[in-house]
């Protein structure tokens, strides 16, 4: 079933390729696959900055930006022009080469992840055999650029921010990978394309997405928690921590390099959200069987926007965690639950279908989870503080 509208980008790429001499075709094909991604996602970044500022404003009973253009729609352009024309200040004692390379490296690493994201039917830059592994391998390179930024600035705030960011990213990378392992177990493949194909069918009108299973919903929730922390979003935005360390690892950056950091962070968030969509939400497949006529890439971006809205909503709601709370959450709740979830996925695989399977699987996760959260809760006991010098 290849609707022309659904495949319009694939077909136009083939049409364009027919003008290229055969010797240059691999290169041209690569360029034609990569360039749309390089355009589409920064554009999405521009839209998201506006959506986020507007949404946060409304959440806090404000208007948000509404001066530039009608309803403030030109705000991203104004921001871009502003950051382009701003003076680029580099601290005198900074390590200039590393200071210069860090934002570029960050954006490059953030873009690399998109190579394996299927953003539509037959629309993936490279169908790697070990796609999910590739995604996480590339994702781990972001930490290095964060370190480069923090260390090269020679500022204690940026170094503290970088240390926090790296500690947080490493801690949450483990649950991030473990949460996606359940999908790999069930799909039997590390290739993102075949994972999406495994979720393509429908029962009645309901899709076979992995999120509609006990291990899937738990895995999705854990994945999103870890993804929030991984992309330094509120409530896990300690590395930025405006009130404590001003802006974390990119405090000494200004002008366009600063904008590049923002771009890199948002691209990372989109990439992890896209991976969550691929792993749990059926990739580009339609949510109901009667909606399959809508092109696949529309569904992918609709899901992506929905997840982005979720991120914004969470950011507008929850206050920032403390460092020890963050680490406790990672190691005492998210990680054990992710491990349990793997057990659940195994049980689900080997038990015969039916309501008993559901009950058993939910029980395996829910009962230990209750105890784990109790443990987290017990630490929240407040005591009357006694001050030694305040009397």
């Amino acid at each position: 079933m290849t609707l022309p509208l659904d495949q319009i980008f694939v077909l136009s790429k083939h049409w364009l390729l027919s003008f290229v001499p055969p010797i240059a075709q691999p290169l041209a094909s690569a360029i034609l696959s990569v360039v749309p991604v390089l355009i589409a996602f920064p554009l999405l970044f521009a839209i998201t900055t506006l959506l986020e500022r507007k949404g946060l404003g409304r959440i806090q009973n404000r208007y948000g930006p509404n001066r530039t253009g009608p309803w403030g729609l030109l705000q991203p352009i104004a921001d871009g022009v502003k950051s382009l024309t701003k003076e680029d200040i580099v601290p005198l004692t900074a390590d200039h080469a590393v200071h210069f390379l860090a934002p570029i490296f960050l954006v490059a690493a953030a873009f690399l992840g998109y190579a394996v994201l299927p953003i539509g039917r037959n629309m993936v830059i490279s169908n790697l055999n070990a796609g999910v592994l590739y995604f996480f391998a590339v994702g781990s390179m972001v930490e290095l650029s964060v370190f480069m930024a923090g260390w090269s600035s020679r500022s204690k705030y940026s170094l503290l921010g970088a240390m926090r960011a790296i500690a947080q990213m490493i801690s949450y990378e483990v649950p991030l990978v473990l949460a996606s392992v359940v999908v790999i177990m069930q799909a039997g493949s590390l290739s993102t394309v075949s994972i999406v194909e495994k979720q393509a069918g429908y029962t009645g009108i309901w899709p076979h997405w992995f999120v509609f299973t006990p291990w899937g919903i738990v895995g999705f929730a854990l994945f999103m928690i870890a993804a929030t922390a991984e992309s330094n979003r509120s409530p896990f935005d300690l590395p930025e921590g405006e009130s404590e360390i001003i802006a974390g690892y990119y405090i000494e950056y200004s002008g366009f390099k600063f904008a590049l950091f923002f771009l890199g962070e948002y691209l990372g968030m989109f990439a992890t959200s896209g991976m969550a969509i691929t792993l749990f939400l059926g990739g580009w497949s339609a949510p109901f069987s009667f909606l399959t006529w809508i092109p696949s890439y529309v569904w992918f971006f609709a899901k992506l926007l929905a997840l982005i809205f979720g991120f914004i909503w969470i950011r507008g709601t929850l206050p920032r965690l403390r460092m020890d709370q963050l680490m406790n959450l990672a190691w005492e709740f998210v990680l054990p639950t992710a491990l349990l979830n793997m057990l659940v996925a195994g049980v689900w695989h080997f038990m015969p279908g039916g309501p008993i399977r559901w009950l058993v699987c939910i029980a395996i996760v829910a009962i230990p989870c209750t105890f784990l959260t109790r443990r987290l809760k017990r630490k929240k006991k407040f005591e009357v503080r006694t001050y030694s010098f305040a009397e």
Binding site: D95, V98, L128, N129, A130, L133, Y134, F136, A137, V138, S140, M141, E143, L144, F147, M148, W151, L159, M163, I166, I170, E173, G188, S189, L190, S191
Partner: protein, 166 residues
């Protein structure tokens, strides 16, 4: 030798040589990651996708970060810059050069260059998984045990035993 291999080899050697030769320890680690990434790219060129990606994940994502963390934690701002190389650096480089000479001589004089590249093996990740779970299940389990022991050991060693400070 293809151009791709030459480029990758030059990147790898340049990265690692810079890692072993630069003055600033953090620069060394950053150069080292370039070298590790080059090695990973060579793995990919040799059709070992899984190993190449694991290399990036483990070395660039974990070992390099661990190293910079260790450098940060052991950084002592001393007024006098100590020399970068140890007192017996000449001996060390002579030994290394000699080792390279012997190895290169052995490689060149062996019949390795006559060996042609066999056809591309079809190695899917599934096959690697199967091999890990059947033929190599015992080493895998031992590896798991080793990693756990190393994890606990590293935590115990690095933990601050000096309780008075707290």
């Amino acid at each position: 030798m293809t151009i791709a291999f030459i480029i990758l080899a030059v990147i790898t050697v340049a990265g690692t040589a810079a890692a072993m030769g630069m003055r600033n320890a953090v620069h060394c680690v950053l150069a080292l990651t370039v070298g590790f990434a080059g090695v990973a790219a060579i793995y990919l060129q040799l059709d070992a996708q899984f190993v190449g990606l694991t290399q990036i994940m483990v070395y660039v994502g974990a070992v390099a970060i661990l190293a910079v963390f260790a450098i940060m934690m052991t950084h002592s701002p001393s007024p006098t810059k100590p020399p970068t190389y140890s007192s017996y650096w000449l001996m060390g480089s002579i030994v290394a050069a000699a080792v390279f000479a012997v190895l290169a001589w052995a490689v060149v004089s062996s019949g390795a260059h006559t060996q042609s590249l066999p056809s591309e093996p079809t190695v899917s990740v599934q096959q690697i998984g199967d091999a890990l779970m059947h033929r190599f299940v015992l080493p895998l389990e031992i590896m798991g045990l080793l990693l756990t022991a190393a994890l606990i050991g590293a935590v115990v060693i690095a933990m601050d035993h000096n309780e008075e400070i707290k």
